[in-house]
Subunit: 228 residues, 2 copies
């Protein structure tokens, strides 16, 4: 560090670590989360080329929040929704993506993700660590209007990609209408206007036999379908 | 649509399109930008497995904004910075990623990206189309504190990934120190505290011969290096 230059950022002035130590911790975290780009989801990209990863998925839903917040049943703080969305999948770096219809995987998901949150968010300076853990917990709890809307977008996005494949060849992986409707339920309460679209797509799928593609994710040759 | 339900969202109430038409336009755009996941940059992921795409890059720098805005020389509106970052690369869906040290590519980049902005953002309802074009133009112009800070993060991120590869094998692709310093210049003005880190890494690279890896992106077998 050059002499004469202040060693504390604006945040550092509040009795926290010197700025170089804060940045060192932030840097470690920023490099560590590069690994989210290697966590694959059970959603195929619209061009059919490959499965989506959780980092690019997080970007996609954050842009959706910028556009779709006007449809939220209750007015939401867009920045807060975006913050929830940008960090909600980071725990998957350690815990992996748990497919939404995998009952065994869902059973110990909380434990795996809790450990992941402590390790990963724990790399940050204390105040930011607490802030990120609180955001992740809020997203998971789905109790605030912002978290409910964020979850609605998180579930709507793979639904949209599954429905709008470039080749027009789409079908739901789930066998039962209830399974899909339960998964999409946050859309009904958080954005009723968008729920009409969900209902119409599901009705169309079941009327035309576009459901029950069957194979769980990870099985070679699985057909295109909606993710989780 | 079911009878009796309102046809306008809160935004729709302001004399705009009925909500179903607005959502139809938003949906087309949301599906179209899935293609950003297929636009590859000249940055290798830290695990060396592949090049980064522009969608996951946009996610990464948005998280960086959440963490690093405290280091901005001038206080910035974090939501605004994040909005700039989330949409700044969308034009690459049509225009491609232009490597930062590709002089021929940079020459017609403005024209290609301007056309892309009109086509892609033009898919949105008029108010959101204007909003996204204005955000993109603000990012490119680098005249506001938010845009300058956003550009600093956009340039810092590939620098960080290049320096912090898992295998410790890093070097700059650029041959000249000036080339790197000019590329990183927004960091110096937007976040002087972080500039010290940049200088230290570059000094180390040139002291130890970790520079001039040479090959432009797109050439098979090109070595790992920082992106553009």
């Amino acid at each position: 560090l050059r002499r004469g230059e202040g060693e504390r950022s604006r945040a550092g002035a509040a009795g926290q670590l010197p700025v170089r130590d804060r940045f060192a911790q932030q840097l470690d975290f920023i490099v560590a989360i590069d690994k989210l780009k290697g966590v694959l989801r059970a959603t195929r990209l619209t061009d059919g080329s490959r499965d989506e990863n959780s980092a690019e998925h997080s970007w996609h839903i954050a842009v959706m929040a910028m556009l779709l917040h006007e449809h939220a049943a209750q007015e939401v703080d867009v920045l807060h929704v975006i913050r929830l969305l940008l960090i909600h999948d980071i725990v998957e770096i350690d815990a992996g993506d748990t497919y939404c219809y995998d009952e065994a995987g869902q059973a110990d998901r909380d434990v795996r993700e809790g450990m992941a949150a402590r390790r990963l968010f724990g790399m940050l300076p204390d105040d930011q660590s607490s802030e990120f853990i609180a955001l992740w917990e809020e997203f998971e709890a789905m109790q605030t209007p912002a978290a409910l809307f964020a979850n609605a977008l998180d579930r709507l996005q793979p639904f949209l990609l599954g429905r709008h494949r470039d080749d027009g060849d789409w079908r739901f992986r789930a066998t039962s209408r209830d399974q899909i409707m339960n998964r999409m339920a946050p859309v009904r309460s958080a954005a009723p206007q968008l729920w009409r679209y969900v209902e119409a797509v599901v009705d169309d799928a079941f009327a035309s036999g576009r459901h029950g593609a069957g194979h769980p994710p990870g099985v070679a040759g699985r057909p295109p379908g909606e993710g989780g």
